[in-house]
Assembly symmetry: none
Homo-oligomer: 233 residues x 4
């Protein structure tokens, strides 16, 4: 019983190096931008040669894509863990959104990577959702949560896709705004305000009564905001 001749492949080493390269690359890309990030500089910071980087990632672009994908995987993990830690569906949603916001609060460079990806590679956009089959599965999961909450009369009877979209847009806008304006508000305070407004609404009791919320059954053309919007433009 003899093993193959020559140096055996060390999978551990490969995995570790791959991760090291990606982490450093994410930082550099976020700091300098895509074009201004020189593979030479990345190599120097990692104490390896340029050639080594190209052994692991055949092109600069694939290096970038792998870096962003690694970050998003970490994001998905953080959100899943947070959602799984509570049972109540409403709490699950809040927990997931909070985890999402906290992740970007902790890893601001990932926002930068998302922006860079869009700026440099208009075609291939990563997202929290649209990866592999997980996308559909995950999508469906949130839709069920929301449907359940509506059925148990905890959330208003609104189209779940509208809800999902507004919540998603709000999260998206928040992380981008935070990042780009360099806003440094305490994380908890910001999350708090966000949830308060989105769940309780801005209207006072009195105003809410004056302007009845759009009901699903209502003829859309009579919705108060719709008509306003159209009048204005």
């Amino acid at each position: 019983m003899s093993r193959r001749p020559g140096r055996p492949i060390d999978v551990q080493l490969q995995e570790r190096r791959r991760a090291e390269i990606l982490d450093q690359a994410a930082k550099l890309f976020a700091a300098r931008g895509y074009a201004s990030t020189d593979t030479q500089e990345l190599a120097a910071e990692l104490n390896v040669s340029k050639g080594t980087i190209f052994r692991y990632f055949p092109t600069k672009r694939e290096l970038f894509s792998a870096a962003i994908e690694r970050s998003l995987e970490q994001l998905r993990l953080a959100v899943d863990v947070a959602a799984d830690a509570v049972d109540d569906p409403l709490e699950k949603i809040i927990a997931a959104m909070t985890a999402y916001l906290r992740f970007f609060d902790d890893h601001p460079e990932v926002v930068e990577l998302l922006i860079l990806e869009r700026a440099e590679f208009k075609d291939r956009i990563s997202s929290y959702f649209d990866r592999r089959d997980r996308g559909a599965e995950c999508d469906e999961y949130w839709r069920l949560l929301l449907t359940g909450l509506i059925e148990t009369r905890r959330l208003r009877e609104l189209p779940v896709d509208h809800i999902r979209q507004v919540l998603g847009d709000l999260l998206y806008g928040t992380i981008f705004s935070n990042h780009m304006s360099g806003r440094a508000r305490p994380f908890a305070e910001q999350a708090n305000a966000l949830f308060d407004i989105v769940f309780h609404g801005l209207f006072t009791e009195r105003e809410r009564r004056r302007t009845a919320p759009v009901s699903l059954a209502a003829d859309e053309s009579h919705s108060p905001y719709e008509s306003q919007a159209e009048q204005m433009i």
Copy 2:
């Protein structure tokens, strides 16, 4: 009264050409990205020489900045016009937000420019607000509107800056999401859903009563969302 010798400078022509260059540049930058946009190509499309472009804008970067600034100026105008067209403060806010959304719906390339600016020039970020002195002035205007609405008991007693931020983030996230996901929902429907949720909240009457909204006076550490968020992470 004699005029200077030689052919008088045609200011009209200069202004017109400047505008033409900026419009075409905005389209090209949005379509190709910053680095991939070749001044040579821009020149060809405009039927002028590269040299001419550099007479009007000393560097590519200044050309880009001027293009984005021109777009934002148009945005501000559209928003101002919309807000000025109504009197009621609440309607003013809705009108302004609607105009904002509609502008990006009509000019999706401007979203692209915002992304490019961040990706390429991390230092110099344009925004709807922070330009010149108008920023502060404008800021103050919206703060006053909101304060008035709170005093007249139409909006709940929340910190106006929180409100402004959440509304801003929601708009921001909406235009980015729309652009990047290629979402093609009818504009009015989307705006409608957004306003409904943000003004009336997601909770049903019953749920709202169970979970009292955060009050300004309340000790933050006891806020329901805050505590949840912290527990989860």
Copy 3:
């Protein structure tokens, strides 16, 4: 009546520069080989920048192709001039072949270019003949000359294509051998020997009679060389 604004295009300058670049490029490629020829070095020798070279020839490969094509055009010209200078068909052939040999004797670097082209770009081979429609035309011309010489009983009754091929191969082999062995025999002496052998043959009168030449009518399988060749292998 005014001319267009701006600097007018100087066609003269363009042509001159193109020719300068090609001549220098041919020398450098021949001296160093394709891969080892650095565009930077070529630019330096021409006292222009690398960018200028790439203005005229979009890729290194197209530069090479243009250089070789320019040389072959000169070759074709030299051969045509030589053939046109005499009237007798036999003399035309001799004149053309002599001009061919002399051209490569005067421009040994062109042999090198032919070798390089084959070595680097197996697909795209230039040749004296196969360019444009001239190829067929030129081909036909020589075939007619040979046919005429056979009909007037000056050349033996052999298939003209065989003759053309053997003559062509002999020329080809001569220029390659000369170049690669660095043979420095007097040009005239070499041409002389070549023509003597190819027209009079190596055999003595007596030997010729013993071994009757292959006749067109003869059954090929009985040709004396053929049978020998097959026996030997």
Copy 4:
């Protein structure tokens, strides 16, 4: 009588592997060119590692040289065998030339190697003749054969070196032309035409009498082809 300790070196294995590497290398070099042939690819096709190849051949260049030398050795063997198989000196020459042509007909990749060698390593040119001491020896052999044939009045009284050169150039040109034009003429037919022309000449009996062949004694400046050639140029 004891042998050295340890596993004895398997010379057989080494020789076999060396040969395998060279054969595969010859194919790859011929197919891809020198620069485009990747040692990694060669290694993969041989199911060994790059390191192993470099154990057998210290540089890529030496690998190439060994590959070409191996091919030429096979060529020399084929030619020798063919020449040794017949006794008559004239038949020896014909047999040798036929074997030469047939070798390259069977191994077209070797032509490619000869071209590559010249293109990449202008200094070190392999040839059928100029290897080791065999060169001179072999050279002398053919010279003696030709001298003998002239003395026995079977070949005309021409300088043997001229004859050798013209024959050599013709062979050389034939294999190159065949290879580069992709000519697919039946081998025997082509060899036939070549021998017929070179031994019997192109002229008819009548034309031969009109144009007396160049004699060795003749003053060169009066040779018929010479004068023509000079007049034309």
